[in-house]
């Protein structure tokens, strides 16, 4: 089974370049190897967070973007981003982007599996990274199934989404998540973006593709996030508070990064995270480095400690992402 899946992936990779010669789409091949050591497990591990989470595990995947145009211009896009990940002696198919985006005047409307309009993860791409965001800590979702609207303004942007509140898998058990985020500042031009988010709904408790409970639980969260880039320094900050899975909750996130060497090839990051859900408190400290070996290959490392789990982890990632 393993060999067949791997062989299929490799054959697909070899064949993909022959299918990609047009000018209205982008196709990338992705591969990553992950390994590390967990003091608590006292063994070598092949994931960056936990066995149940989707990111990051050894995987092969692709990232595809197709522009939709007619004679007088673009009217939308289709995006598909998927992986086959090695998961505890099994292979797991993971679908990240899977959406259709249509343009109406200056507004984008998307339908499918995409980023809900909640917090930093609504625009910060963590797809290949080993340090985690609040969305990967049960405060929102990195991707969710549903529909959304997004618009840029001169002063920033705004987004609204109505999603299933189930994350990676698609379930209908009375679950839903309504989110809205308004932000000021254009990160690519003004080097900062500060956002305010509101989110309300009934969520299913999922970890990756695993459904932990059949019952929905209420979710009502307010959040603020802030990103500021200055010279070679990067700062990302987020706070969320409210009811999460029916419990009074609070989350704090800060990531500091510094880019070194020519073209920022070397990056060091440090990240404290504090999570409170009901009576449970969790503190996490992560430190990481990333070295861009070439445009396609990046080597990342991470040291991670969490309390009260009292686990020290060291993770190594070899990440390959190439246009075909």
């Amino acid at each position: 089974m393993i060999y067949k899946a791997l062989l299929t992936g490799m054959l697909c990779y070899m064949l993909i370049p022959d299918l990609s010669h047009g000018g209205d789409h982008l196709l990338y091949f992705e591969a990553q190897g992950i390994s590390g050591y967990s003091q608590r497990e006292d063994e070598v591990i092949f994931y960056s967070r936990s066995q149940e989470d989707v990111m990051q595990k050894p995987s092969l995947g692709f990232d595809y973007l197709q522009r939709l145009s007619h004679q007088s211009g673009d009217f939308g896009a289709v995006a598909i981003q998927a992986r086959v990940a090695y998961d505890d002696d099994n292979f797991e198919f993971q679908l990240y982007n899977a959406y259709l985006k249509l343009k109406h005047k200056s507004t984008d409307i998307w339908l499918g599996h995409n980023r809900p309009a909640l917090g930093l993860s609504s625009y910060f791409d963590s797809h290949g990274l080993v340090l985690s965001t609040l969305a990967m800590n049960h405060f929102g979702f990195d991707r969710d199934w549903g529909i959304g609207v997004f618009r840029n303004f001169l002063w920033g942007d705004a987004g609204i989404s109505l999603t299933t509140g189930s994350g990676m898998p698609l379930h209908f058990k009375g679950n839903y998540l309504f989110s809205i985020r308004v932000s000021r500042g254009i990160l690519n031009q003004e080097n900062y973006n500060s956002g305010f988010s509101l989110s309300y709904g009934k969520l299913l408790d999922t970890m990756g593709y695993h459904l932990m409970e059949d019952e929905t639980e209420p979710f009502a969260i307010t959040g603020v996030d802030f990103t500021y880039l200055w010279n070679q320094f990067e700062n990302r900050f987020e706070i969320m508070a409210g009811k999460n899975r029916a419990q009074n909750s609070f989350a704090f996130f800060y990531r500091f990064g510094i880019n070194l060497l020519n073209e920022g090839r070397l990056k060091f990051e440090a990240q404290p995270v504090y999570l409170k859900m009901g009576a449970e408190h969790t503190c996490e400290i992560s430190m990481g480095s990333a070295f861009i070996v070439s445009g396609d290959v990046t080597v990342r490392t991470m040291y991670h400690f969490d309390y009260p789990g009292d686990d020290h982890k060291i993770i190594f990632q070899l990440y390959y992402y190439r246009k075909v």
Binding site: P58, Y86, I186, N231, G295
Partner: protein, 216 residues
């Protein structure tokens, strides 16, 4: 465990088979709807195209472009498979111009230089999208951008991107650096503009300016 190790080794082997020093750092407009309307008032839409040197002409095209630029393509922003995003601008069904941006190494990471061009390849407007510089305010000043208006590749050919000076008297030498303390970013902007114009000539203008190029 053994299986997992095998998977990782095979993934690495696949990567090794295909790895060359390539990159894929594209340069998209942050908000195409707004930027197109601003740069081409009266336009009704745009079409996004992706073009890369490796798909169009591979190594020989890269060498040709380097010759016209007068410098080697280097680093993450200038590898052969960079997907250049070109916006064709329409008024109804009629094409009226282009917008194209390139990444360029600046003093503090990458900068992004966008040009809007008419169908003959003349610069209608110049602007920085991404720019992390101590002199960002001066470089983003519209008065600085105005100096590029009306120039084309013919004007940029005599400009030597390595020395930062013109080999013969030319209009580019007349562009005034608004922030002498940011000379690195100023010269990066000029190099990015020349690179941008050469790529557009190769990709969409049918090499109409190649006849003016004088190889040394």
């Amino acid at each position: 465990m053994k299986r997992c190790m095998l998977v990782m080794v095979l993934i690495t082997a696949v990567m090794g088979l295909q790895t060359t020093l390539r990159a894929a750092v594209g340069c998209d407009l942050n908000d195409p709807d707004r930027d197109v309307a601003r740069l081409f008032p009266g336009s009704s839409g745009y079409k996004t195209l992706y073009v890369s040197i490796d798909k169009k002409g591979e190594g020989s095209l890269l060498r040709e472009i380097e010759k016209r630029l007068g410098d080697k393509f280097q680093g993450l922003y200038e590898t052969i498979d960079v997907p250049y995003t070109i916006y064709e601008i329409y008024q109804g069904k009629e094409k009226i111009g282009y917008i194209h941006g390139v990444n360029q190494k600046g003093q503090y990471g990458g900068i992004q230089v966008f040009l809007s061009l008419d169908l003959e390849g003349n610069i209608r407007s110049f602007y920085f999208q991404k720019l992390t510089s101590r002199a960002a305010k001066e470089l983003r000043n519209p008065e600085f951008a105005k100096q590029f208006k009306g120039l084309n590749l013919l004007d940029f050919y005599p400009y030597d991107v390595v020395s930062g000076k013109g080999k013969t008297p030319n209009k580019v030498d007349a562009i005034i650096n608004p922030a002498p303390k940011a000379d690195f970013d100023f010269r990066a902007a000029l190099r990015a503009t020349k690179k941008n114009l050469i790529l557009m000539d190769e990709f969409v203008l049918g090499n109409r300016y190649i006849k003016y190029f004088k190889s040394e």
